[in-house]
């Protein structure tokens, strides 16, 4: 099964998109396939939600068939949703761009959250 890796970003600029510290309220998501190609990117509509931004964002990723996701921190609800959908959660260790964090993931440099 091919993997799809989701990165929360604060601006959309392809691989150079700066990574967003937060998950639920990030500006957008960039989704890579295993070869580092960006297969999808979209603005995170949930960031405006008063509550439940985490569940909304998670729901979006699940809908898009994401298998792996990285964030500075996953809230409890987001974790619940993603784990139930068998999405692997990874901890961000201060990479600046989407490209950087993808490479770290690819090279097994990330810790599981």
């Amino acid at each position: 099964m091919s993997k799809l890796f989701a990165v929360p970003v604060s601006e959309l600029n392809n691989e150079k998109s700066p990574v967003d510290e937060r998950f639920g309220r990030c500006y957008a998501f960039v989704i890579f396939d295993e070869n580092g190609k960006i297969v999808k990117s979209f603005v995170n509509e949930n960031r405006d939600a008063a509550h439940g931004a985490g569940t909304g964002a998670s729901g979006l990723l699940v809908k898009n068939g994401v298998t792996d996701a990285v964030a500075g921190h996953f809230g409890p609800k987001a974790s619940e949703v993603l784990r139930a959908a068998n999405v692997k959660l990874w901890e961000n260790i201060s990479a600046k761009t989407a490209e950087e964090i993808f490479n770290k993931w690819k090279n097994n440099e990330l810790r599981q959250a």
Binding site: H51, G52, A53, T55, G59, K63, E80, A85
Partner: protein, 287 residues
């Protein structure tokens, strides 16, 4: 003597200005004048009226809201429920849905849009209404369970619960100017705003006054700890909005001490102040 039914809402902008102190004291005073009195604690996130009222013979009624649940084990996972929900409370994962009850606002939208009729709404408890006696005073408290985010349904139930209660109803409202406060103010025949003569008190009472006046209610002010700060500025503000000041209560250390220990017997000087205020309220309410 039949007491006509009247509701006094005690509110404030800033916390810690003496809402509960005033509500409890007024309740005690009207009771001593043989009115039928109900003390209602509407600060459902942190109800502390019972520390002073010490109610007995308690009985409780749960406050329920509604949340969806799946009728069957699996569904097509189409996600129409997730798409509809404005609160991110339902997520489609594979062949079923995940529900977050604490995010759900209780609208049956997901049930309505599900093309397979796979969902139904069921009851969920989010709080409790407790009633008891505090001497002759009837005590009613609304309480939101810890961890719950939405106080509104508890308030709605609380006010429905006391709808037909005759006599003088004193509602001890939450601080601030949020939705909960507005709901409480709507119940009142008059709104009494507690404040203190500091810049914080002034800033916040302006917000609370604006809200009360917007609701078209008769509004009155009481300045607590009136000798600690700038009372003149406070009175000037009230005058500018045609808000009568029912009383100014100077700081009384023994009152503060009694209050801190949960004691509602505040001594003679304070009781006199309460009597003055209560008389003015009776005049305004025509009772």
């Amino acid at each position: 003597m039949e007491t006509p039914t009247k509701t006094i809402v005690v509110a404030s902008g800033k916390g810690g200005t003496g809402k509960t102190l005033m509500s409890v004291s007024l309740a005690g005073h009207f009771d001593s004048e043989n009115y039928k009195v109900h003390y209602i604690d509407a600060d459902v996130e942190e109800p502390n009226g019972r520390i002073f009222m010490k109610p007995e013979n308690l009985k409780s009624v749960p406050v329920m809201t509604q949340v969806p649940e799946m009728k069957k084990d699996s569904c097509s996972g189409c996600g129409k429920c997730q798409q509809f929900c404005a609160f991110n409370a339902i997520v489609a994962i594979g062949s079923k849905v995940m529900i977050f009850p604490e995010l759900c606002h209780g609208c049956p939208g997901c049930v309505a849009v599900c093309p397979e009729d796979a969902l139904r709404m069921v009851d969920r408890q989010i709080g409790v209404i407790t009633e008891g006696d505090s001497g002759n005073i009837n005590f009613i408290e609304g309480r939101l369970n810890e961890g719950e985010a939405m106080p509104t349904p508890v308030l709605t139930e609380l006010f429905k619960y006391i709808e037909d209660y005759p006599g003088i109803r004193i509602i001890d409202s939450p601080p601030g100017t949020s939705c909960s406060v507005m709901k409480s103010m709507e119940e009142g025949d008059i709104i009494v705003l507690m404040t203190e003569p500091t810049p914080f008190g002034l800033h916040d009472v302006k917000l609370a006054s604006e809200l009360a006046l917007k609701l078209g209610k008769p509004v009155y002010g009481i300045i607590n700890r009136s000798d600690l700060g700038n009372s003149d500025e406070m009175k000037k503000y009230f005058a500018s909005r045609n808000i009568p000041v029912l009383g100014e209560i100077p700081f009384m250390r023994d009152v503060a001490v009694a209050y801190s220990g949960g004691n509602k017997d505040m001594g003679n000087k304070f009781s006199e102040k309460i009597a003055e205020i209560a008389l003015k309220i009776r005049k305004e309410l025509k009772i």
